[in-house]
Symmetry: C2
Subunit: 328 residues, 2 copies
C-alpha cells in the first residue's frame, strides 16, 4: 500500500491540507508544525502522487520526447540533453521512438498530450499541416526544424556549411557532390538549399545524387554514383551516410582523401572511430535537447515572453577524410 497524504497527516497529527502546504509553501506553516510534518514525511517515505496532483493543478511534471530513430547515434545525444535538463527541473520524460513513421508520431502526441505538460518533438518528416493540427493538443517545441512561428531549436546550418565549403575550396575542390537524405526531411531540404546557394556563390559545381535512407546502408548505396559523378569531394546527409560511403570506397580501393574527400553532418562518435576518421559538421546534440526543454519550460511558465526560437552554432571538425583535391 503506497503511503498517501492522509497517512502522513495522521502520523503528524494534522490535516492533509497542512501536509500539502508544508510541501508546497512551507512559509505558510508554523515552524514547529512544519518540522513535525517533515519528520512524518521522512519516516513514512512519502512521495506525493504526481498524477493526482496534476489532476487539480493542471501540471503533470512530465514531458514528452519524440524521436524518429534512437538507433541513429545522433538522437541518444539529444535524449540525454533532454533528460538531464528535465531532471534539473524535476521533470520526468516520456520517450517515444517512432521508427521514422510520421503516423506513429502524431498518434503518440495525442496519446501523450494529457499526461504531459508539453512535448519536445523531433519529427523531420511529418507534414506541416499535421504538426499545426497537433499544436492545439499540448505545448510543443520542435527540434531541428522550423514550422511557421512555432517554438523551435535549430542549428545554424548556413554557417556550418559555409565553413565546410570554404575548407574544401581552400583545398582546391571545385566539383562537389551531396548525397541527400530523405526527401521529406526538413534538415535535408535545408542543407540542400544552403549548399546550392553557397556553392553557386563560390563558383563551384554541385552534383546531387538520389535520395537515400539516413543510414550506413544509404551511404554504401550512393558511393558508386558519387564516384561516377567525377567529383573530388562529397558531403553526405549525415555521418552515417558519410561513413557508409567511406566503407564502400575502402572496399573498392578508392583512396580517401587522396582520390576523394568525404564530409558528414552530426559528429557522432562513430566519425572518430573509423579510419580515416570523418570530417564533419558537428551538431550540438545534448545542447539541442537542453534548449528544447528550456524553451518548453519557458513556454509553460511565461507564455508571453517566451523566446520562440533558438539557433545553435555548428562547427566544422576537420579530420582525415578531407584533403587536397585530386587531379582527376
Amino acid at each position: 500500500m503506497p503511503v498517501t497524504i492522509k497517512d502522513v497527516a495522521r502520523a503528524a497529527g494534522v490535516s492533509p491540507a497542512t501536509v500539502s502546504r508544508t510541501l508546497a509553501a512551507p512559509g505558510l506553516v508554523r515552524h514547529e508544525t512544519r518540522e513535525r510534518v517533515q519528520r512524518a514525511v521522512a519516516a513514512l517515505g512519502y512521495k506525493p502522487n504526481r498524477a493526482a496532483r496534476g489532476l487539480i493543478t493542471g501540471r503533470t511534471g512530465n514531458l514528452g520526447l519524440i524521436v524518429p530513430d534512437l538507433t541513429n547515434p545522433f538522437f541518444p545525444g539529444v535524449v540525454k540533453g533532454v533528460q538531464t535538463r528535465a531532471r534539473e527541473s524535476d521533470y520526468a520524460v516520456f520517450l517515444a521512438d517512432t521508427d521514422e513513421d510520421p503516423t506513429v508520431e502524431a498518434d503518440t502526441v495525442r496519446n501523450l498530450a494529457k499526461q504531459v505538460d508539453g512535448i519536445v518533438l523531433c519529427s523531420p518528416r511529418m507534414g506541416e499541416d499535421e504538426i499545426r493540427a497537433l499544436v492545439g493538443e499540448t505545448p510543443m517545441v520542435m527540434l531541428n526544424r522550423r514550422v511557421g512561428r512555432l517554438p523551435s531549436v535549430t542549428v545554424n546550418n548556413a554557417d556550418g556549411i559555409r565553413q565546410a565549403i570554404a575548407h574544401l575550396t581552400a583545398l582546391g575542390h571545385r566539383r562537389i557532390a551531396y548525397v541527400p537524405g530523405p526527401r521529406a526531411s526538413w534538415s535535408n531540404r535545408e542543407r540542400l538549399r544552403i549548399l546550392r546557394q553557397v556553392t553557386a556563390a563560390g563558383g563551384l559545381e554541385l552534383v546531387v545524387t538520389g535520395n537515400v535512407a539516413p543510414q550506413f546502408a544509404g551511404g554504401v548505396a550512393a558511393a558508386d554514383q558519387v564516384l561516377a559523378a567525377g567529383v573530388t569531394a562529397v558531403l553526405g546527409y549525415n555521418d552515417l551516410v558519410a561513413v557508409g560511403m567511406l566503407s564502400r570506397f575502402a572496399a573498392r580501393g578508392v583512396d580517401v582523401p587522396g582520390r576523394i574527400s568525404v564530409l558528414g553532418f552530426d559528429d557522432i562518435v562513430l566519425s572518430e572511430m573509423v579510419s580515416p576518421s570523418l570530417t564533419t559538421l558537428a551538431q550540438p546534440k545534448e545542447q539541442t535537447g537542453r534548449a528544447g526543454v528550456d524553451l518548453l519550460l519557458q513556454l509553460l511558465t511565461d507564455p508571453e515572453r517566451a523566446v520562440a526560437r533558438r539557433e545553435l552554432p555548428s562547427h566544422l571538425m576537420v579530420r582525415n577524410s578531407t584533403g587536397a583535391a585530386a587531379s582527376l
Copy 2:
C-alpha cells in the same frame, strides 16, 4: 480546454458513467446508445485522461525504463524493443538515462514508482541490497543481470563464450586476454567467471587486464597492455572496448587479425562498419527489451504464474577481426 468525459456525455445525451462503460465494457451498453456515444467520442476527439483513470483503477498504463547510458549503442536497441512491445499493449514508456550513476537510478525508481505499473531496470552497477530495497516500491524486471529470484531477462553468456573460445581454439589460439569492463558490472563479472571456467577446461591461458570504462576510450587505453601480454587473441568487455583496441592497434601498425585476433560482445552496428569488421558475440538487444516488457506485463496480470526468468540465446558473429593464431 481538453475534452473530458462530461463533454462527451453531454454531447451524446447520456451520463458520464455510460460513456465510461461504452469504452470499458461495450457489452453492457445498449447498441443504439453505444453508437451514439462512439459518434460523440469520435466527433470530439475524446481521449480518456490516463492519470485520472489510474487514480481509481490503480493502473497507470505507463511503465518505466531505466538504462545507464543511451550513448552506448547497445541500449538504443533495448529501448526500441521495450517501446515497440509496450506500444503493442498500449503502454507509454518513461525513460531515464542515469549516466552510469547508481544513485540516480535508485532515485529515479522511487520518483517513477507512483506513475508506472512497473519498471524495467537495466542497472548493471547498483548494489543488490539497494535493488532489493527498491522492489517494494513497484514491480520490477531486471535486464541483463540476476538478483536473487527477481524477475530478469538475461543472455546465455556461457553458451556464447563457449562458441567464441571454440572458434579461437580452432584457429590455434592458446593464450588469450580479456579486457574487463566496470568491476561492479554484473555482465562483466559473469563473463569473466565463465571465461575463466571455459579457458581452464580447454587448457588455455587467460590473461586479464585492468578494468576499463565500457567505452571506446577504455579499449584504446587497454590495447597496449594487451599487446605487451603476448597473447594472440583478445576479448573486450563489449564492442566499444573491442573497437577501441582495434583503433589503437591500427594506429600502432599492429596487424589484425594477422598478429592478434579481436572479439567483442554485443554486435552493435559499429562492429560491421569498422575495418577489419569485428567478430562479436551478438546479444539480442530488441528481444531483451521485448522480453522485459513481457515479463512485467505477466507479472501485472498474473503474479502467481508469471515466469520469473527468461534467458535469451547469444551467438557468435564471425567477422574479419579474427584469424589463425600468429606464431609470436
